[in-house]
Symmetry: C2
Subunit: 306 residues, 2 copies
């Protein structure tokens, strides 16, 4: 399986019972992170973002290559040690190994290609959602957008106290890839995606791939109390359209609701039921927010618009 999902799935040669999962993501300075980010922070974010693609596929991460483009001013031991520390901390935590890559001179950019594996046919894709499935998201939404503002030292965040801004900064530079959740749900979810471009945009990708609409309810969106307290006017928009959350959005057919709800109730799965898959009403599969389909708002984050 090639282009069009979070990663590619490859049938291994010679009748192996596993499939390889491959994804590449690039982070460019001033586009994906501010110029004053530390090497340690940049490395962690680069690896976590790529691991999130594995989570979205239900894959176990195994190996990665690193293509590091570095300006002269950063090609020094101190910068490289910070980068290496950040990278190896995450690689150890998620049990994946750096297996190669390239180092070149140029404007700071990091491309990681992550390889993982899934049992044959068990990879989670975007195209399996069907009418009647429930839509769930993991964790909380909106922290990614607020975290980006924190990373940019945006004035709108001056009102919050240090504990909150530290949590937001950490969510930006070290988003927690939901690998274990991907592995847990892969046998029963019908579709899955990671929320990197915003819930509406990414759930919209599931809708398009599956030929269905999705109806979500803003009242159900899981948002951190800190955001609700400090950013009442914006936090729902951040949760819907903000991007950078790196949570999973997945759909579950009726036969598996009880299992998923049991897991949630027992604290074994950190996820929230936010809506349902419905038939597509107008040949243009998309997300309805509180009953309203808004083609315009669902584009999500587009770096070329910056």
């Amino acid at each position: 399986m090639g282009i069009g999902d979070d990663a590619a799935i490859i049938n291994l040669p010679l009748n192996s019972k596993a499939q390889l999962v491959v994804a590449s993501d690039t982070l460019v300075e001033e586009v994906h992170f501010p110029g004053d980010a530390s090497a340690y922070q940049v490395a962690q974010r680069a690896l976590c973002v790529n691991l999130s693609d594995m989570a979205a596929m239900g894959a176990a991460p195994r190996w990665f290559t690193l293509a590091l483009t570095l300006p002269q001013g950063k090609a020094n031991e101190q910068w490289l040690k910070g980068f290496s520390d950040g990278l190896s901390e995450i690689a150890i935590a998620y049990n994946c190994a750096l297996i190669g890559g390239d180092t070149t001179a140029g404007p700071l950019a990091i491309t990681i290609t992550m390889l993982g594996e899934v049992p044959l046919g068990e990879g989670l894709v975007r195209s399996g959602a069907a009418n009647g499935d429930r839509v769930y998201v993991t964790g909380i939404l909106g922290d990614g957008a607020a975290g980006l503002l924190a990373a940019r030292k945006d004035k709108s965040l001056n009102c919050i106290d240090n504990t909150v801004s530290e949590r937001l900064l950490l969510s930006f530079y070290k988003p927690h890839p939901k690998i274990n959740i991907g592995l847990k749900i892969r046998a029963l979810a019908s579709a899955c995606i990671d929320i990197s471009d915003g819930l509406v945009a990414d759930l919209g990708h599931i809708c398009k791939s599956s030929g269905v609409d999705a109806s979500v309810h803003t009242s159900r969106l899981p948002i951190h109390p800190d955001l609700e307290a400090n950013f009442q006017g914006q936090c729902v928009d951040w949760a819907l359209f903000g991007g950078d959350d790196y949570q999973l959005c997945f759909t579950v057919p009726a036969e598996h609701y009880p299992m998923v709800d049991d897991w949630i109730l027992l604290g074994e799965l950190d996820a929230t039921w936010i809506g349902s898959i419905i038939p597509c009403s107008d040949n243009s599969p998309a997300v309805l927010v509180d009953g309203v389909k808004s083609q315009e708002r669902e584009r999500g984050f587009d770096h070329f618009d910056q």
Copy 2:
């Protein structure tokens, strides 16, 4: 097998009889190609350079991901069509498929991660050269360095006629990856590398990995008559230290000389015997050029030195 060779070799899970080969290479504008290169040229070079790593491993290329970072001015249909045409022409010629990637805004850079396969244990590595092995190179050397000058429209090339400069430009933008040679020699070569940083630097990598010296003779170096005619003073240096040739340098144990020499004689293998592997004389494995070991000259091309 991880870092330290042209690519990583991965044992496939569940007792598969093939191994996956993975390599990443980045090309940055103004570092690896001039700013006036066409999208078509850049795409071809990016893919060929990565394919050359597969050739060096004796691997059959299968799949690749593309991480394309593009400035606003190039994010248009015309540029992308040129890029896509160049990429697909090479992908078809070498039977490998684009399976995913990422597109981001930023200074022009291309990272390709190439995946290939080799039968279990048959991958060519740098560490197998032994005393008495012969050293061979494929094709001709020095065209890469001259091609870089041609791409930069360097004045020193004003003396040559158009046919020659066109050939050099083509060798720069569309280096011919020696995939078939890699496949042909993988059963009998003891070590192999592609010459991207210059013969002495890359053969030096084989020496270091294998704990041996290599002795090469400049009189044996295969250099195109055009270069010998026009650049008598420089062409040997280009062949030794110039880089960008993307030929293979490989070593062959005594038991396999006859086969290799037969292939060369019959025109089935475009390669030249340029020297031999000898015991390391001083605990610092390196290349001797016409009997002289020159640690200083063997660094090869270092982009950070530019």
